[in-house]
């Protein structure tokens, strides 16, 4: 076995040193009738055989890059510079542990500090943590944090919030004190979604959660919502699950958000069939000690040199145990490294330019779809994704187009089959979508939508 360095001789010598004759003497605490069970699993394989096996499985999937591709709804296929993947594979980053020994983990700690700063700047907030599992779990954590801050229980989840995120919030809080009010998604009436959220806020509300751009792609000014929340001493939680939008659209912080959470996979990370992804979590200074997750802070070493450490760990489970802020233990370290490298390559200048190109491509797609009979673009506003209403069931159409080698987007019913929105389809683009891709989609739609 190529990963097991001990030889038979080594094992014998070591057993002798230990003073036992057989390895199973070291397992004598295992109940005898449970030791060495019969387990029916294949024997070890060569690297070549494993590669073949995995390649066969991989070949049964349609890689996004191999077809015209318009799938989004919370995960986006952006171009990631080759540099990013190169650096995150350096053994010093890849095979390091959580930086609990800061003297030999300054690499990890400094990039986390840079990451926290980048996320705070992007979202327009004071501070950010070292990352969360993903956008959906970050949203659930934000709701619970709002309860701790406000000492109120009722959280309003607007219709603009991704249905999967709503489901995760509901699941995660089902045994906590939180009460979750879920509002209806209205693909054609974003203003009504906003109004419903405003109307639901009262003096028992801990927070209102609004996604922007919304799940159907609408972009709204959330200032009125922030005002309504703050008037009731509730918090506004803004969800962003396409972080590229922050390069074009005003930041949630500037609109009055108290907590910004979201999915930052878009920057630096691939699609990976849904994970690992990168949750972000940002808030304002006054709430820092209620924030879940790891935090890196600046300090000095014994010689006065600047250095970084994990800090405020008194909030965390390994210190506080049952009194911890959250049970979260890990962050998405390597994904946040990919983010910070990609973001460092782009900078404000590159991100703004790419965000503009994304939006332009989406406008081109909208214009092209407006020419297809039966397809109605419902959005007045959007970033790089919008919703169309179809005369047919969207899921069936997507399946039909997949057979033609086009991945045409996400039917709303895939996110929530119970919403009665079967004829709505969300289409996303990024800088990777070409005019040829759009033309292929239009042609296929014209054939299929009759």
């Amino acid at each position: 076995m190529r990963y097991l360095p001990l030889t038979t001789t080594d094992r014998q010598e070591m057993l002798a040193k230990i003073g036992v004759r057989h390895i199973d003497e070291l397992f004598k605490d295992v109940p005898a009738d449970c030791l060495n069970p019969d387990i029916d699993l294949p024997r070890h394989k060569t690297e070549l055989e494993v590669e073949r096996h995995m390649a066969r499985l991989a070949a049964k999937n349609v890689a996004a890059g191999s077809v015209p591709f318009f799938v989004g709804a919370g995960a986006y296929r952006h171009h990631v510079p080759a540099t990013v993947d190169h650096i995150i594979q350096r053994g010093e980053f890849l095979t390091a542990y959580t930086p609990y020994q800061p003297e030999i983990a300054q690499g990890t700690l400094q990039y986390i500090f840079e990451f926290q700063t980048q996320v705070a700047e992007l979202t327009g907030m004071d501070v950010a943590n070292a990352s969360m599992y993903d956008g959906s779990t970050a949203t659930a954590e934000a709701v619970m944090m709002a309860r701790r801050v406000t000492r109120r229980k009722k959280a309003v989840l607007a219709g603009s919030v991704h249905p999967h995120y709503r489901a995760v919030v509901e699941t995660t809080t089902q045994y906590t004190d939180d009460e979750i009010v879920v509002q209806k998604t209205l693909p054609e009436s974003p203003e009504a979604e906003l109004k419903a959220a405003i109307d639901a806020i009262d003096e028992t509300t801990s927070c209102v959660v609004f996604q922007n751009p919304g799940v159907c792609g609408h972009v709204l000014d959330l200032t009125p919502l922030a005002e309504a929340a703050h008037a009731n001493k509730a918090l506004l939680i803004v969800v962003v699950n396409e972080v590229f939008s922050l390069g074009l659209i005003e930041s949630p912080g500037a609109m009055g958000a108290d907590i910004v959470v979201g999915e930052a996979q878009s920057i630096g990370n691939g699609l990976n069939f849904g994970g690992p992804y990168l949750g972000i979590f940002a808030t304002n200074q006054k709430y820092v000690r209620q924030m879940p997750g790891r935090l890196c802070g600046q300090t000095v070493d014994a010689e006065g040199k600047r250095g970084f450490v994990l800090t405020l760990s008194t909030r965390e489970q390994h210190i506080r145990r049952e009194k911890a802020t959250s049970n979260i233990c890990t962050n998405s370290g390597l994904c946040s490294l990919a983010f910070t490298i990609h973001m460092t390559l782009m900078g404000e200048k590159g991100l703004r330019a790419l965000a503009k190109l994304n939006h332009k491509t989406a406008c081109d797609l909208r214009d092209a779809l407006n020419g297809v009979a039966g397809v109605e673009v419902v959005n007045q506003t959007f970033f790089n994704e919008f919703t169309v209403k179809l005369p047919v069931n969207a899921a069936g159409l997507v399946e039909a187009l997949a057979e033609k080698g086009i991945l045409a987007g996400v039917p709303f019913s895939r996110l929530d089959p119970t919403a009665g929105l079967e004829n709505y389809l969300m289409l996303a683009v990024t800088e990777t979508v070409t005019p040829d891709d759009i033309a292929a989609l239009v042609a296929a739609l014209e054939e299929t939508v009759k």
């Binding site: 010598e13 040193k17 020994q101 980048q118 849904g274 600047r306 049970n327 890990t330 900078g347």
Partner: protein, 486 residues
């Protein structure tokens, strides 16, 4: 040389990416163009590569040397795993693509599930939890859901003193009171105390096995029987599963739910703090409460994902994450399992246990062993051997850095004083272990000889001297801002 922060490089106006020029056009963003600045500098590619390459060289990873971090299983991370995870058919597929276009991905999830169920002899597995603690949450939620489905409102969970902090945190998160069970002098759960605490208000017992002292819970079957007799469930923290792969099945030991850490046991990288992956196996009693989504086989042989409750009778605990979990880690873990095979996994556990016992046998005369008898995959020492030397466990650990090693786990488990938990893993050779043992013996005798200087100021040969954690916490500086001095 100190590496500056990216924000200190005066690069606000540059970028390291090229973007095609976009002519002005009529935007459809409702007049909400971003007016506030995005204070993120862009570094040209050469500078960015250098910055992160230099940062990386301030880190220590498994690739550099022995990383004997007890309870964390820092084993070799094969590069084949990384290569497979980057195949476009895995890395470049979207979680919401039509199911017909991701049959290979679902098949992979099915294969991984098969391996995990088989090696534990458990009938069900939930892949989606994003990390170990998330897996615990999943397991304890399933337990609560099971009780509630029976209308049983049990309110207490029992944990041993030596438990990982996440165990009580998770129990509390699910609305349970946490009650601590003491350990016996042999490092195991005090079964009499446990039995005494078990009653009809107890929902579950959370036990780590092998436990955090590196010991197998000898009476685990009796414990399981007692738990079940009380109408409670047995949650097993699988953080230490690396000791028993192929040697013992949790399913045979009476476990109802157990999470894996794919990043500990199955060689996916820790990545400096994640991403992890924490699948959970369930017993028959709990399997109907597993979270969604999961893979199902349709009548036509195709694979599908169950993403929503079928009806109101569906007892699934719900959705724990937006998509299907850590696919990238599934690919790596399955690659690892196929590479090892059933035979290799068993050998890995044997070698992990052998290595730990070899270290124990080689150090027990100079360090103070906490418990007698064979250990599993990690050896627990405490600080009695440092008594009156003026050297603390922390000092000792930092001195290991100067020897070229990552320190072992310190001050955990809490049940012994000044704990030092050493887990070499099976991927260390005897050559490496012998070197490590020589270093540790040298340090121990230096400490006993009263040469405290080597410890107090340690590490001497690291990128930084000891860092002031108190200052960091008292006045937190959590981000760069222009007006701070460098």
């Amino acid at each position: 040389l100190a590496e500056p922060l990216i924000f200190e490089l005066d690069r606000a106006d540059t970028t390291g990416v090229d973007v095609p020029e976009v002519d002005d056009f009529e935007m459809a963003i409702g007049g909400l163009a971003r007016k506030t600045s995005i204070g993120c500098p862009g570094l040209p590619e050469p500078d960015a590569v250098r910055h992160y390459t230099r940062l990386s060289r301030l880190n220590y990873g498994i690739d550099m040397g022995v990383f004997p971090l007890g309870s964390c299983t820092m084993k070799h991370n094969p590069r084949l795993n990384e290569k497979m995870a980057r195949l476009p058919g895995f890395g470049d597929i979207h979680p919401l693509q039509p199911i017909s276009t991701v049959q290979g991905a679902l098949a992979l999830m099915g294969e991984l599930s098969h391996w995990l169920m088989t090696i534990t002899n458990m009938p069900a597995v939930a892949l989606s939890p994003k990390a170990g603690a998330h897996g615990e949450l999943c397991g304890v939620m399933a337990i609560r859901a099971a009780h509630e489905a029976r209308g049983d409102g049990r309110k207490t969970i029992l944990c041993p003193e030596s438990a990982h902090g996440t165990n009580p945190a998770t129990a509390a998160f699910c609305g349970y009171d946490v009650k601590s069970i003491p350990a016996k002098s042999n490092g195991r759960v005090d079964i009499d105390a446990l039995k005494a605490a078990l009653n009809e208000t107890v929902a579950a017992v959370m036990i780590t096995n092998p436990n955090t002292c590196g010991l197998f819970e000898t009476e685990v079957k009796e414990i399981a029987d007692a738990i079940h007799a009380a109408g409670a469930y047995f949650y097993c923290d699988g953080a230490n599963f690396n000791a028993i792969m192929g040697k013992a099945c949790p399913g045979d030991l009476g476990v109802d739910a157990m999470h894996f850490n794919l990043h500990k046991t199955f060689s996916t990288p820790h990545g400096g703090g994640g991403p992890g992956s924490g699948p959970v196996v369930f017993s028959d009693a709990l399997k109907d409460f597993a979270p969604m989504p999961y893979v199902v086989k349709e009548n036509d042989g195709s694979l599908n994902l169950k993403e929503w409750k079928a009806d109101s009778a569906d007892t699934s605990l719900g959705r724990l994450t937006a998509f299907h979990g850590q696919m990238g880690m599934y690919v790596r873990a399955l690659t690892y399992m196929l590479s090892h095979g059933g035979d290799g996994l068993k050998q890995a556990s044997e070698d992990a246990v052998l290595n730990a016992n070899y270290i124990k046998a080689s150090l027990m005369d100079v360090m103070s062993l906490s418990y007698e008898g064979p250990c599993m995959h990690e050896a627990l020492f405490d600080d009695r051997f440092l008594k009156d030397t003026g050297v603390t466990t922390l000092d000792f650990a930092k001195a290991m850095i100067d020897e070229g090693y990552h320190p072992m786990t310190m001050y955990f488990p809490l049940v012994v004083h000044g704990a030092m938990l050493i887990e070499p893993t099976e991927t260390e050779s005897k050559f490496n272990l012998d070197q490590f043992i020589r270093s540790m013996r040298g340090l121990a005798s230096t400490a006993k000889a009263g040469e405290t200087e080597r410890f107090e100021g340690a590490p001497y040969y690291a990128p930084r001297k000891r860092l002031d954690e108190t200052q960091a916490a008292r006045q937190p500086v959590l981000r760069y801002s222009n007006n701070q001095e460098a």
